[in-house]
Structure formats: structure tokens, C-alpha cells
Symmetry: C3
Subunit: 155 residues, 3 copies
Amino acid sequence: MENIDPHSALFATYAIAATLMILKAVGMSWLTVVRMMQANGGFRSPEDLKKTLLNPRPDPAQLSPNERVERIRRIQLNDLESLPYFLVAGFLYVLTAPPLILAQGLLYGYVASRLLHFAAYFTGQIHEVRAAFWSIGSLILIFMAVRVLMAALGY
Amino acid sequence: MENIDPHSALFATYAIAATLMILKAVGMSWLTVVRMMQANGGFRSPEDLKKTLLNPRPDPAQLSPNERVERIRRIQLNDLESLPYFLVAGFLYVLTAPPLILAQGLLYGYVASRLLHFAAYFTGQIHEVRAAFWSIGSLILIFMAVRVLMAALGY
Amino acid sequence: MENIDPHSALFATYAIAATLMILKAVGMSWLTVVRMMQANGGFRSPEDLKKTLLNPRPDPAQLSPNERVERIRRIQLNDLESLPYFLVAGFLYVLTAPPLILAQGLLYGYVASRLLHFAAYFTGQIHEVRAAFWSIGSLILIFMAVRVLMAALGY
């Protein structure tokens, strides 16, 4: 593995892919907030039923699951099962000094697969569509992790 | 972006913020354990109802959600939606060689926002208080990610 | 803390432990897929009840929780409460230039504890067994984080 060179095109590729994924993930949190405000519900904590400026007429039904909110939470959980591992695997992968074009294909391919997965999940496409995009991202992640493992083992 | 210099004050700032957040996150797991032992419940797996030294009188009610335990699990899930992304964004951010004072403000500001969010959630403050602290941390995370993205794109 | 030297045995130790854990985590996602296909259920989204090639006879019961699927999801969630933090703490820990033998003991010890935790959870062992393996991994994580924090503070 080569030393980290943050000025290199390889490292910039990683930094771009990583921050796009981080912004995407953080966006899910804000989207949850937006949908909770639209629905005036989908809350989770008992204290969210206290009367406040933002919740002038509390109603126990506000603690019931709201499908529009739960959908974003499911997308967010799906992100969590993959993105943190991608962020580390991608970093270690560029340290193995792969060809730039391959790294770009894998890292940007992962980003594209996750954005398409989001689009499919967000709009409620059939499971097969969602699963296809998810699988592409997962396979890229596995490929990078195996490559790093082999490099670290000296192969 | 500058090379990593683990001896620099900039990198030490990141390492301090990162490890404080990691210890905070791990603390949530242990707090869940403590509360499950106090409640003798809030378990999740069928096998947790087997009679053992630590659970001499199993009771199906032990698998019901326990609000004191669930509260910590919600805090932990909230951590998960932010901390792993912060750990990577903060690392990449210090690689962009920002002014030390700005990095300290952002990184320690994030840590403070998460500790205050914990305090508000733990003590059941109204949603507005919790949301305010959460928002500060989330905006810091977005700022750092955008800054890294711009640096990687050459701006 | 020393500079990153990806060619060092220390960094290779981290890269091996990190990628093994990433592959383990990604494996949980695929295991969830396998079990959902075996059970033809355990789905979560309303659109998963649409009639498709892979789901020719949709049934509302397919959206009910399936214990065999939920077990893997609980393991996956347990991974999430620890692995992302380990991946960052382990990285920062090897930057503090610890003795190789100690780093190997901690990093591979963590990997072993998580694989044994998986084996215990997967086969439904009593809580005490699962908890013992979980605790070992968590204590290793805490040790590494505290060590990095002290190094960053100059101790």
C-alpha cells in the first residue's frame, strides 16, 4: 500500500465519493425531520407529546408509526448497514494504489448505486429494482474489502 | 489537502474529538446493559428467557419493550445516524489543513452538541431542546463534508 | 503518534482486522437476504407485497416479523453499535505506534470476540455467553480509544 497523498487524484476520488455519501446520509436525517413536520407525527419519545410552541395540540396518535416517516427511517437504516463500512473500505482501498480509472469506477459506481437505491426506495419501486441497486453497491464494497485484505496479507 | 501529521495540533484535535465520541457511543451500549439489569427486562431474543444464573426466574414479560431501556436505544440509534459520518468527515476535514481555531471550534463544538443532545434526551427534555442540539451537530457535520468536497474538487 | 506507513506490519494488522470486520458486517446483509428468501417473508416495505417474478403469490403475512430474519437483523444492529467505532479507533490506535504484539492481540482479539459473539448469537446460546464475547470486544474498543485519547493529549 502506498502512503496517503491527499493531493493525488486517487485520494480526491475517495474524498469526493465519501463526502457525497456522508451528505446523502445526513440528508436522510433532515428528510425524516421534514416528513415528521409534514405529518405532525411519527414521533418516538413520550416527551414529544408535551405541549410546546411547535406542538400546540399534542395527540397520542403522534407516537404511532407513520409510513412516510418510517420509509425514510428504513432507507437510513439501509444506509447504515453499508455506508460506514464503505467509508473505511474505500479509504483503505485507495491506499493500495489501484489504477485511477478502476478506483473511479468502483467509488463513483458505489455512489451511483446508492443514489439509485435511494430513488427506487423513495418512490416505492418493486423489491427487485431496489435489490438490484443494493447488490451492485454491496458487491463493490466486498470487492474493495477483499482487495485490501489481500494487499495487507502480501498478495 | 495536507499530508497527515499525527503530531500536529490539528490532528490531535481530531483524535481527541473522535475518541470522545467513540467512548460516548460505547457508553450507550453499557448504559443499555445497566438499565436492562436494573429492569431485569427489555430483552430482545427468545433465548434470553432461558433460566440461567443471571436470570433465575425467567418471565415472558422480560421480552416486552422497557421504556427506560428503549430510551437509551433511541439515543444510541441517533448516535449511529451521525457519529460514524462525523468520524470520517472530521478526519478528512483536518486533512484540508483548516485554521486550527476553526477546526477546534467545529470538532469540539460537535462533541459539545452531542453531549448536550444526550443530556436533553436522557432527561426527557421537550423535543425543541433536543432538536436544537441535534441541529447544531448536524450543521457542523454538513459544513465539514462540504468543505472537504470542495477541497477535493479543487476549490 | 507516528505517521501512517501502509507498508508496516502494524498498519497491515489494522487493515486485516478492519477488512475482516467489514466483510463480516456485509455478510450479515446477505444472510438477511438468504433468510428472507428461505422464509419468503420478513419483508418491511408495503411495495414488497406487489406481485413480481420473485414474489408470484404475495401475502400480507410476508410483512410480519420472521424470527429467523429478525435474529440476523439483531446481530447486524449489534455490529453497528460497535464495528464503525472499532474501524476508526483501531486506525487511530495503530497511529500511536504501539508494540506490534500488543496491537495484534487487541485487533485480532476484537475480531475473534466478534466472530464468537456471532456464533453464540446465531446458534441462540444463553445470554451470558453472548454477553461475555460482546464485553471482551467492547473493552478492547474502550482500551484503544482511551489510549489514543491519552496520546493525543500528550500523555
